[in-house]
């Protein structure tokens, strides 16, 4: 390295100005001060370099040394990331706790991966093999559900010179040596480095054709998200963003979850860590943590690391995608990331655009969401990254810049609603404001897997809810008694849909996750009831009589009473709806009956 001695010139919160030379490159990683706090170069102006520091800067003095690392901010990728929890720049929180106790100290440098642990490695190449970028050279079982594939870095290739025999190795052992075109010898290990701000290259981007099945009825049936797509969940506080994110992380059919707690609550991260270690994944029958990487930058951790955390998470997601896995990344919340961007921009004295956010907010959001997608990887496999970003709009107002800019780069929008949350209707996804643009892409899949009537039922359901909204406007003005019977029936059916279908209890053992087939059968039963009742109402049977039979309440409880693994239990419900009929009683009064 050069002889240049860099030193601190000024300190303003997490922003430090550095003098002493002109050799620092943008986005280079540096270590600042005698405690060697980690930082990153964010601007270079003449001989003054500005660095954002990822830790508390208390005690830094002008004149203290700054050590360039000569490379952009990178993280180590390899086996051991899963079933683990990291901070925003990929330092293991368990290791930090061992080093500094219950409170997070400063200047702690711990390798991201356990360097002692030996993995049972099988080598997939032989001397003389040509390794293209992305080629797999070694495999090991990272957790019982994920097989880790060590790949050539996307920017490297060459001919294999030597290999070690299969056996137990640590992440620092050299497994394979490769000679590249320039004649350099590369030592390949289980782990590799990758700069967090550079997307990992892929062979090609593919069309989105499959949904991410989440087990949440309103999402799977009404507003689906494609594998490789992007969704946003905006909502005021208390509307259930975090619970929805947790539900998706628990039950979606992705192979792997990267869960990023970005500027959120510490207790929530502890909850995820505890709960995911205990909960069993229905797809693999193993604890959920075996397929999960957690990243936590809680709201009181350094703000600069919050800005970086979203790229750290994305890089980990891309790494596993390159192995051929379908990864879902939850970012809770992207607003905190945008605010971190704003805070740093303010300290850099940049010209603000809307509401103090920097003008580049939109391009940064675009860069992030565009790293999602269904890809053909360099090694010829298929993998995807689906992003689900929570947005915390100020005052719950969706017209603020982060929500508006996010909307341009996502295609599924789950709008959470304060009034639904107040009535404890969860998930509080508003069916009038939410949308999914993936529906057309996914139509063939739905038709093939669930039959052509599924999307027809879906359309009917949406129409009923739309009609209810406009009827409710009238009811608010004149009361429901004035409405004609058929409109009353629409309101009643909409109530069954709200309570029995859209509302889903995430704390109920059966209701927390629902297979697609059950979702479809529920819709069928509800609409059979609707049609049956319409027939009766047409015959001038008063709705109050049908209500008195209790059949609506029966259907509302359907979601709890039918086990997910025994759909034959739909039988009695279907029978009840089929047998709904009028019988003349002796006193000529009309009565409605059904049998269960």
């Amino acid at each position: 390295m050069s002889e240049t001695k860099y030193y601190i010139e000024g300190v303003n919160g997490p922003v430090v100005t550095v003098k002493g030379g002109r050799g620092l490159a943008m986005m280079d990683m540096v270590e600042v001060g005698t405690e060697r706090l980690i930082g990153e170069v964010v601007s270079v102006e003449g001989d003054v370099t500005t660095v954002q520091v990822y830790e508390d800067t208390t005690g830094l003095m002008p004149g203290m040394p700054v050590f360039p690392k000569g490379a952009p901010m990178s993280i180590t990728l390899g086996p051991g990331l899963l079933n683990n929890i990291y901070d925003g720049i990929c330092r293991p929180l368990r290791g930090i706790a061992e080093a500094s106790g219950a409170f997070i100290g400063r200047g702690i440098q711990i390798p991201a991966l356990d360097e002692e642990k030996k993995w049972d490695v099988s080598i997939c190449v032989r001397p003389g093999d040509e390794l293209a970028p992305g080629a797999v050279y070694a495999e090991c079982q990272e957790t019982p559900v994920i097989r880790h594939r060590s790949m050539m870095r996307p920017d490297q290739s060459g001919t294999v010179l030597t290999v070690v025999p299969d056996g137990a190795y640590t992440v620092t052992d050299t497994l394979v040596t490769v000679k590249n075109a320039a004649g350099e010898i590369l030592e390949l290990k289980l782990a590799q480095q990758w700069p967090i701000r550079s997307p990992r290259p892929v062979e090609a981007r593919c069309a989105i054709t499959r949904p991410l099945i989440t087990g949440q009825r309103i999402i799977d049936a009404l507003f689906p998200l494609g594998k490789g797509g992007c969704a946003a969940i905006p909502g005021p506080f208390g509307a259930g963003k975090t619970v929805t994110q947790h539900q998706l992380a628990k039950w979606s059919d992705a192979d792997l979850i990267v869960y990023l707690g970005c500027g959120e609550r510490g207790n929530e991260m502890t909850e995820v860590l505890d709960e995911f270690s205990e909960l069993i994944d229905p797809h693999t029958n193993q604890p959920l943590m075996y397929r999960t990487v957690l990243l936590a930058n809680t709201s009181n951790m350094p703000v600069a690391a919050r800005e970086a955390s979203i790229y750290t998470g994305m890089t980990i997601a891309e790494y596993y995608r390159d192995m051929g896995y379908h990864v879902a990344m939850m970012a809770d919340s992207t607003s905190r990331w945008a605010e971190a961007l704003r805070e740093i921009s303010g300290r850099l004295e940049e010209m603000p655009a809307e509401e103090g956010f920097p003008a580049y907010l939109s391009s940064r959001l675009a860069e992030f969401y565009e790293r999602a997608g269904y890809m053909k990887t360099l090694s010829g496999k298929e993998g995807s990254i689906t992003i689900i970003g929570a947005v915390s709009p100020q005052g719950g107002d969706f017209s603020e810049p982060v929500t508006q800019n996010t909307k341009r780069f996502i295609r599924t929008f789950w709008a959470l609603d304060r009034s639904l949350a107040y009535a404890r209707h969860f998930p509080a996804i508003n069916w009038n404001q939410s949308y999914s643009e993936y529906l057309t892409d996914l139509t063939p899949w739905y038709n093939e897997q669930l039959g052509e009537d599924f999307l027809k039922l879906r359309a009917r359901l949406q129409a009923v809810m739309k009609e209810e909204t406009s009827l409710n406007e009238i009811v608010k003005l004149i009361g429901s008694d004035i409405l004609p019977e058929d409109q009353k029936l629409t309101i009643e059916i909409a109530r069954v849909i709200r309570l029995g279908f859209l509302q889903q209890n995430s704390f109920h053992a059966i209701d927390t996750y629902v297979p697609m087939e059950k979702t479809k059968r529920m819709m069928e039963v509800i609409f059979r009831l609707f049609d049956g009742c319409r027939g009766l109402v047409a015959k001038s049977v008063p709705l109050s009589q049908i209500k008195a039979t209790g059949i609506f309440e029966k259907l509302v409880r359907m979601k709890y009473e039918i086990p997910n693994d025994d759909l034959s239990q739909f039988g009695p419900f279907e029978q009840a709806v089929r047998t709904l009929s009028v019988k003349e009683a002796f006193d000529n009064e009309v009565r409605v009956y059904w049998s269960f």
Binding site: T17, A102, P236, G263, N267, M269, N300, R342, K476, F507
Partner: protein, 460 residues
């Protein structure tokens, strides 16, 4: 070698600028001695080469460019801590103001604290009974939680807070309670009210008070919660107390942050508040919790008055995004004479779900509270309909909802300032109220539970 810097180069608001300094660390404390012998304290908030910017806690009034001499302490702001703190009163910067002399410190700690490591936290599950139905039944307070009270000017939030302090008890009584009280920018009367109340409850020996009155300097106001939380962490994680921290009024605190930010010439974001208000508030609120291997806990009940009763104002808004729920007071209920005027629909306790039910409170707790929420939210619809078409024109079900709503406010929400209801009383009362409605309207409760608890022919 310690240097004393004579004179200043510039002053703006509460900021002073010194040139030609060296060997000064960011965030370091300084002692400023005026020619009159008066001592003031300051902190380094920016360094640029040989220029240092300091904020003066007591304000710059009376300081000239020539009459000040500055000594740097070489350390960030630290608070002297000791078990003797209990029963004492301090100012916002942590100096005793009760005339009982200086504290003999067992330890000194940086008041900014450090972030708790999520892997070292214990997820809070034990509920704290407050004896207030609206809180215990509907938005249960959990030990280690941060649950603010959103109020407005002129509402009885102080009474609610004092009642919580008086009545708070935990299910499994396994440790001693201590209270840390931080008053920020409040009037003298408010500080006296709490002091008197603690005295009457015989709790004064378990209380540490940090008082920054409305007329005290704003820089000190920004230190007040930090000192209070440092003391709370010491009591909880060093001495093993279960600490309840009451902080009032967070709105004054945020306004102090705004005033300070604008004097530094920072770019404002919403309503003039600095863009880092979220991080700043988080650095306070996140200092609640329970840690593995420690017997104590820190529970926070911050109080804030919503400017113009607006819950979307940046202060309640950012607070709500950080805290684990909120208890919202409502002016309309207050005017109806309901005490405590807790508006249950927007109130929420995020940690409640894991701290209630079988083994914690009672098996039917979650269903009852959900049903009360759902039913009470329909009351609002029935009321707005009644205001348009008149009560007589309502359907029978809607009339029952009106009756339920009125009884709910009069019997469930309303209770005496010294009335301490057990959780069983609260839930039984809930069942009685729900029994006003027909069974078919109770869609959040299982049929078995309805059979077991529904009260036929209920009267109020």
């Amino acid at each position: 070698m310690k240097l004393e810097y004579i004179g200043l180069s510039e002053m703006v608001g509460s900021l002073i600028f010194l040139d030609g300094v060296s060997g000064i660390g960011y965030d370091e404390m300084a002692e400023i001695t005026l020619s009159s012998g008066e001592k003031r304290y300051g902190r380094v908030i920016q360094l640029d080469g040989s220029r240092a910017v300091l904020q003066v806690f007591e304000g710059t009034k009376g300081i000239s460019l020539e009459n000040a001499r500055t000594n740097f302490t070489g350390k960030p702001m630290e608070l002297a801590l000791s078990s003797e703190m209990l029963g004492r009163v301090f100012n916002g910067a942590g100096r005793p103001i009760d005339g009982l002399g200086e504290l003999y410190p067992e330890e000194r700690r940086n008041i900014n604290g450090s972030a708790m490591n999520p892997v070292a936290r214990i997820y809070p599950r034990n509920c704290i009974y407050t004896g207030i139905s609206a809180i215990d039944g509907m938005s249960t307070l959990i030990r280690g939680q941060k649950l603010p009270i959103f109020s407005g000017a002129g509402m009885r939030h102080n009474d609610v807070a004092a009642q919580i302090v008086r009545q708070a008890k935990v299910a499994a009584d396994d440790g001693e309670f201590a209270i840390v009280f931080a008053a920020m920018g409040v009037k003298n009367d408010v500080a006296d009210f709490f002091k008197k109340d603690f005295e009457e409850a015989g709790a004064l020996q378990r209380v540490v008070m940090f008082v920054n009155l409305a007329s005290d300097p704003i820089i000190e106001r920004m230190l007040t919660p930090r000192c209070a939380l440092t003391a709370a962490e010491y009591l909880a994680f060093h001495l093993g107390y279960h600490v309840l921290v009451i902080m009032t009024d967070m709105t004054s605190y945020c306004e102090a942050v705004r005033e300070f930010s604008s004097s530094k010439g920072e770019i404002p974001s919403r309503k003039g508040f600095p863009s880092y208000l979220y991080s700043d508030l988080a650095s306070l609120y996140e200092r609640a919790g329970i840690l593995k291997g420690k017997s104590g806990s820190v529970t926070q009940v911050p109080i804030l008055t919503m400017p113009n009763d607006d819950i979307t104002h940046p202060i309640p808004d950012l607070t709500g995004y950080i805290t684990e729920g909120q208890i919202v007071l409502d002016r309309e209920l207050e005017q109806k004479g309901v005490y405590p005027p807790i508006s249950v629909l927007p109130s929420l306790s995020r940690l409640m779900k894991d701290g209630i039910g079988e083994g914690y409170t009672r098996a039917d707790h979650s269903d009852v509270s959900n049903q009360l929420f759902a039913s009470y939210s329909k009351v609002q619809d029935a009321r707005s309909l009644a205001s348009v078409i008149g009560e007589d024109e309502l359907s029978d079900t809607d009339k029952l909802y009106l009756k339920f709503g009125n009884a709910f406010e009069a019997h469930f929400l309303t209770q005496g300032v010294r009335e301490d209801r057990s959780i069983d009383d609260t839930l039984d009362l809930g069942w009685k109220l729900l029994s006003i409605l027909p069974k078919s309207e109770l869609d959040r409760i299982s049929a078995e539970d309805i059979e077991a608890h529904y009260v036929e022919d209920v009267t109020f």
